[in-house]
């Protein structure tokens, strides 16, 4: 049995409608790739669908594992030297994986390569690719301020897993951020300024998506306080640097929460606004003063009223923690 060069892991759960396209795009992304579909205890026709697609490796978890657990199962089933995750509603661009592997092969010290993603809303309208600046090398401190790496755009070497451990399945949905942190703490990375992925944004007005946002933010705060501060590199850093990264991180989340509150108020959804506001005040009681100043200065409110646009940098709604590029 020949070992493939790359493995693409697609976790899926009860969402077969777009899965076929995702799988096809994964096959087109590289010449030598194995596609592993991890069916996380789906109750619908996902199994039949996967049985009808030739060439994929189908792993079925009989008990629901969550995204991170499913990705871990995919990792165990994978054999490729380079590994990439793909969500079941996202699309890989053709040959993008080979390009990234090429970049990784050119610099043996780099363990991970990320690139840009093109956001696409439910109607199929595409936005400009993000993140704007694809920083290279040691991006640990940048990443600590917020996750700017689109999960599906990452290709990493197999050794990342054995050096940094598998994904943490107790923090599904921020598991990717946690893993990138652990990898970037140890190794330099490559950032390519080319789009490799079409990232499907969750439905903008769905209530569920928004309450999920608050949950994810709360989880991220807890994770930062408990685990990130104990990472050897953070623990060894100066007090000033630690404070700086916490401030940037909490401001990043506060921006999201404030925006979410504002939007819920505009939509006259007061319970949601209350939940967001509560989390916001718990995060940082004095944050309102800062935000008001920052938002007025950035004249974001003006643009919002004039053109009904979201402020610059908040175009990206996140499924996992998507950070705002620094304003």
């Amino acid at each position: 049995m020949k070992t493939p060069r790359a493995s693409i892991i697609i976790p899926t759960h009860d969402r077969p409608d777009r899965l076929r396209r995702a799988i096809a795009s994964a096959f087109a992304a590289s010449k030598d790739v194995e596609v592993i579909v991890v069916d996380d205890a789906s109750a619908d026709e996902t199994a039949q669908l996967c049985a009808s697609i030739a060439g994929i490796k189908y792993v079925r978890a009989e008990r629901n594992q969550g995204v991170a657990g499913a990705r871990n199962l995919g990792l165990v089933a994978s054999r490729g030297e380079f590994i990439s995750f793909l969500d079941d509603d996202d699309l890989r661009l053709p040959n993008s994986l080979d390009d990234q592997i090429e970049a990784l092969s050119r610099s043996p010290a780099a363990m991970l390569c990320y690139a840009q993603a093109i956001p696409e809303d439910q109607t199929g309208k595409q936005g400009p690719p993000f993140p704007d600046a694809c920083r290279q090398g040691d991006i640990f401190w940048d990443l600590l301020k917020g996750n700017f790496i689109p999960c599906g755009s990452v290709v990493f070497r197999r050794r990342c897993i054995s050096s940094a451990g598998l994904l943490d399945d107790s923090i599904s949905r921020i598991d990717d951020w946690d893993f990138w942190l652990r990898v970037t703490e140890l190794f330099p990375v490559i950032g390519l300024k080319t789009p490799v992925l079409v990232w499907r944004a969750p439905a903008r007005n769905s209530r569920q998506g928004s309450s999920e946002t608050v949950e994810v933010i709360e989880l991220a705060i807890k994770h930062f306080r408990r685990n990130c501060r104990r990472m050897p590199r953070v623990a060894r850093a100066s007090r000033r640097q630690r404070q700086q990264s916490w401030r940037a991180f909490s401001m990043n989340l506060a921006d999201h929460l404030a925006w979410e509150t504002f939007r819920s108020l505009c939509a006259a959804d007061f319970s949601r606004a209350w939940v967001c506001a509560r989390t916001l005040f718990k995060l940082h009681p004095g944050v309102l003063v800062h935000l008001t100043w920052r938002w007025t200065r950035a004249s974001t409110i003006k643009t919002f009223i004039a053109g009904q646009h979201e402020p610059e940098g908040m175009k990206i709604r996140f499924k996992e923690i998507r950070s705002i590029p620094d304003t």
Binding site: M1, R63, V76, D169
Partner: protein, 308 residues
């Protein structure tokens, strides 16, 4: 492709590692030995360099036993997986024996053998712990802590791990119980009476081992509530679940009380004794009043007094 992967997680304890790795190599014909070094800060890496025929995997940040075992599973290529602690031994031929058993029963999730108890120098004490189950559906016995399975005595089918998920890092001292229970929920279990491993008892003098045991049992009692969410347990009525819970807590309390009365009190280890009693009382405030425990304690004390 090798037939069995033996995963040896290790952390800052290189002294007995070569012996464990050698025993794994002798335990089967086509064995892949994966030593997972869980961020050791001592000479473990150098010791592993000298060992022939192993694969050395180093994790840079400490993951705990369960996390290290998971990395071992990730690195493994064989269809069967055995876990071996760095201070225990596998008996010669035992992996082949168990792999044959799994070959013959293609739906079995794992096979559990017997264990030889040994002292600090791996001299057998004569005690052999055999699996207390005839095989087949062992889910309820595992859930009730009635059928203890040690990772040393088991060989697991990797495919089944993919079905139920990897080891749970959240419960790192009882991750073995957790995974065996989850496998047994959907797969039958094989048992064999032949000894397959030699288990080194922790030093009886160190109170550490026993207080770890108390917290382990407490954690197990707490974690059982999560295992009740598994579909087969969730389908029970609350009355049936209550009965399982009752029996488990009784069993845990009895174990704690037994080790207090028989091991700690005679050795005058008051702290460990108090910890055990505290753990038992936290689980079941009325356990001291139960007839069984009272009689046993009274008997024991009487014997102590007579011998004194």
């Amino acid at each position: 492709m090798p037939r069995v992967s033996v995963i040896i997680p290790t952390h800052n304890r290189p002294a007995r590692l070569p012996q464990a790795a050698a025993s794994a190599g002798a335990a089967g014909h086509d064995v892949e030995i994966i030593v997972v070094d869980d961020a050791s800060t001592d000479e473990t890496a150098e010791v592993c360099q000298t060992l022939a025929g192993i694969r050395y995997v180093r994790i840079e940040r400490n993951q705990g036993v369960a996390g290290a075992r998971n990395v071992g599973i990730f690195e493994s290529t064989a269809p069967y997986i055995a876990f071996l602690d760095d201070d225990d031994l596998r008996l010669p031929g035992s992996l082949d024996l168990q792999a044959d058993a799994l070959d013959q029963n293609s739906d079995a999730g794992f096979v559990c053998g017997a264990m030889i108890m040994a002292d600090q120098n791996h001299q057998p004490t004569g005690e052999i712990i055999r699996p207390r189950h005839a095989g087949g559906d062992a889910f309820w016995e595992l859930l009730e802590l009635d059928f203890p399975v040690m990772p040393l005595s088991a060989l697991i089918r990797k495919e089944c791990l993919l079905r139920v998920g990897l080891l749970n890092r959240q419960v790192t001292t009882i991750d073995d119980w957790d995974i065996f229970t989850r496998i047994a929920e959907i797969h039958p279990v094989l048992t064999m009476q032949e000894p397959v491993g030699s288990y080194r008892r922790p030093t009886p003098d160190s109170a550490q081992g026993s207080s770890a045991r108390a917290s382990q049992l407490r954690l197990a009692a707490r974690h059982q509530r999560r295992l009740f969410l598994l579909p087969r347990a969730a389908a029970l009525t609350w009355k049936q679940r209550g009965a399982i819970r009752r029996r488990t807590i009784d069993r845990v309390c009895e174990t704690l009380a037994w080790s207090t009365v028989n091991e700690h009190l005679p050795a005058r280890r008051l702290r460990a004794a108090l910890e055990n009693i505290g753990a038992a009382l936290a689980l079941d405030p009325a356990f001291a009043l139960r007839a069984g425990f009272r009689h046993k304690t009274a008997q024991k004390l009487r014997r102590e007094f007579r011998s004194a």
